[in-house]
């Protein structure tokens, strides 16, 4: 059995709208079906013109998704939801791309701070906020191999964990605030 062009288009849009809540998805699809049906009643060519004007099923569906993912992420999603919501638009909007990169950088810094805490618990002797090494005059983390020698000294000492914790938290909070701000801007600029 061959599908009608309307069914074919609608079912492809449906696949892309999978992430939406069922009632909203049904509503969108019913309206799309109704639209295409009325176009098809005008003439055979009107339907073809209409299908072309709507764009690919993916493009059409994405207009609902981009916003929805962001909106839901803003209304109580996890930091990862927010970041992914911004990433979704990064391919089509420069602002979203730059924002995604900036937020990722913040999270990466946060992750390295928390990583240092872990290293300090595993190998406290070699981990610190080091200064003095000629090759790498400033270094936050664990010195691999034989461990520290006389050329370096640890600035942080026993304060390493509190400092790393504070910095890590600050980076996380900034990253989160930035991603919320970007998400709001993206929604507003539509």
């Amino acid at each position: 059995m061959t599908q009608s062009p309307i069914d074919a288009y609608v079912s492809r849009v449906e696949r892309y709208l999978n992430d939406l809540p069922a009632p909203e998805r049904e509503d969108i699809l019913a309206e799309l079906r109704s639209h295409l049906y009325e176009r098809s009643q005008e003439s055979e060519t009107a339907l073809d013109v209409s299908l072309k004007a709507l764009g690919s099923p993916e493009e059409f569906a994405r207009q609902y998704l981009d916003d929805d993912v962001l909106r839901r992420a803003l209304a109580g999603g996890s930091p990862a939801d927010l970041l992914l919501g911004v990433l979704r638009q990064a391919t089509s909007r420069v602002g979203a791309f730059v924002g995604f990169a900036a937020v990722s950088l913040f999270y990466l810094f946060a992750l390295s701070c928390f990583g240092v805490i872990l290293l300090d618990l595993i190998n406290p002797e070699a981990t610190g906020l080091w200064v003095g090494d000629e090759m790498d005059p400033f270094f936050f983390g664990m010195i691999a191999g034989t461990g520290p020698d006389e050329t370096v000294r640890d600035l942080a000492g026993i304060w390493l964990i509190p400092i790393a914790l504070a910095a890590g938290t600050a980076f996380t909070v900034c990253g989160l605030a930035l991603s919320r701000w970007i998400a709001r801007r993206l929604l507003k600029s539509k």
Partner: protein, 116 residues
């Protein structure tokens, strides 16, 4: 060539805000369904509403409570239609948008059309 590009990017900036106002203003005349709104708005051309963008726009306006929707049964055997109408919040927004639009259009016209 570059001039055409500059013109079309300026035009798309200009249209960005127009679509929402056009939809709300059209609905101010009474209830209407998507295709009807689309045809009315695109008939006058230039307003940056396309077949592909009208439904997502209507959904955004519906979700933010500016318009409300209801489904009606199919007119003589056709497909059911989704009719939209302004909510009181949308009515409010529209009248404020109208004021700013008039002020904006007047000010701009005075400058653009002025003969020195």
């Amino acid at each position: 060539m570059q001039d055409t590009e500059a013109l079309s990017s300026w035009k798309s900036q200009l249209r960005k805000g127009a679509a929402e106002l056009a939809v709300l203003a059209y609905l101010d005349r009474g209830e209407a369904y998507g295709l009807e709104i689309l045809q009315a708005i695109t008939a006058s051309g230039e307003l940056g509403v396309s077949e592909g963008s009208i439904y997502p726009l209507l959904k955004r306006l519906e979700k933010s409570g500016k318009i409300k929707a209801r489904w009606t049964d199919a007119p003589d055997g056709g497909a059911p239609r989704k009719y939209y109408a302004l909510s009181s919040e949308g009515q409010d927004l529209l009248s404020r948008m109208r004021d700013s639009w008039r002020a904006f259009a007047n000010a701009l016209t005075r400058i653009v059309e002025a003969k020195s």
